[in-house]
């Protein structure tokens, strides 16, 4: 976030709505953003590494699995260090904001779902697709066999 211009500078604009634009809240805001990014990125790296190390796609790889759990633990540690979450979870008004936010998301998803349904209804229908012929069927079967089968 760029530093706010001073009042005598030509590009000065007084923020009307955002408290952390002008005052000391800016520093705290940047700290929250930085630590949130650390928590999210370590969680993502941890999950990816755990999935790579587990027996989903290949044999279990214990060192990779351990590294993944280390990163996930690091993410939990960074959250536990954050006073912001403690403050938020002990305040009833913030909890109410969080719940209302979820209701807002649910309502918006429902509205967008209805808009997409309306769009699909008013759009002209595509003609039905012809079924695969023998050659295409053999090709698709071979592609699946090569990707999922023994690879030979």
């Amino acid at each position: 976030m760029p530093e706010q211009p001073l009042y005598f500078e030509s590009d000065y604009h007084r923020c009307e709505f955002i408290s952390f634009c002008n005052d000391d809240g800016r520093e705290s805001y940047l700290k929250v953003v930085t630590w949130s990014l650390i928590s999210i990125s370590t969680a993502l790296i941890g999950c990816y590494t755990i999935i790579r190390g587990s027996r989903i796609y290949a044999e279990r790889n214990l060192p990779v699995l351990a590294i993944g759990w280390f990163f996930l633990g690091l993410s939990w540690w960074s959250i536990a260090q954050s006073q912001w979450f403690v403050d938020a979870y002990t305040r009833l008004d913030v909890l109410a904001w969080m719940v209302c936010f979820i209701f807002g998301i649910a309502g918006t998803v429902y509205i967008l779902f209805q808009i997409i349904r309306f769009t699909e209804n008013v759009s002209p229908k595509d003609p039905p697709i012809e079924p695969l012929n023998d050659n295409e069927r053999r090709l698709v079967t071979e592609m699946i066999r090569r990707n999922l089968g023994d690879g030979s």
Binding site: G25, V32, I50, R55, I56, S75, Q81, L112, I115
Partner: protein
């Protein structure tokens, strides 16, 4: 370590949070439609609708005081709405991470099941 207060005048009401959620989701949906543009998805109507739903409350908020708006004010409100939306989603992170950690525990202990597709191909 961290101490941050969302002390934003007039924005803390519950209805406003629902409105912020709507703006945030419509903003993300509009970006998604633009960057994955495909005419077969018929994106025109959903894109216009999400842009209207996204800009409407922001425009109303910027015009609330004096009935006029400016680019700087609009940019400030866009920043406010998106940062508040992102902030509330981050507030949900411990709960989401608890669920994800539980899933990772299952994944770590899981053995691969027989693939029904391979069996189907062989038959």
């Amino acid at each position: 370590m961290l101490n941050f207060d969302f002390s934003i005048a007039g924005i803390g009401s519950l209805g406003a949070m629902m409105l912020i959620a709507m703006v945030f989701i419509c903003y993300c949906f509009a970006i998604h439609l633009i960057v994955t543009w495909n005419p077969y998805h018929r994106p025109a109507i959903p894109l216009v609708s999400s842009l209207i739903l996204c800009t409407g409350p922001m425009l109303a908020m910027s015009m609330e005081k004096d009935g006029a708006t400016s680019l700087a004010e609009m940019l400030e409100i866009i920043f406010l709405f998106t940062s508040l939306g992102g902030g509330v989603i981050v507030l949900w992170m411990p709960i989401i991470l608890a669920f994800v950690t539980f899933q990772m525990l299952i994944v770590s202990r899981k053995s691969p099941t027989e693939d029904p597709l391979i069996e189907m191909l062989e038959n």
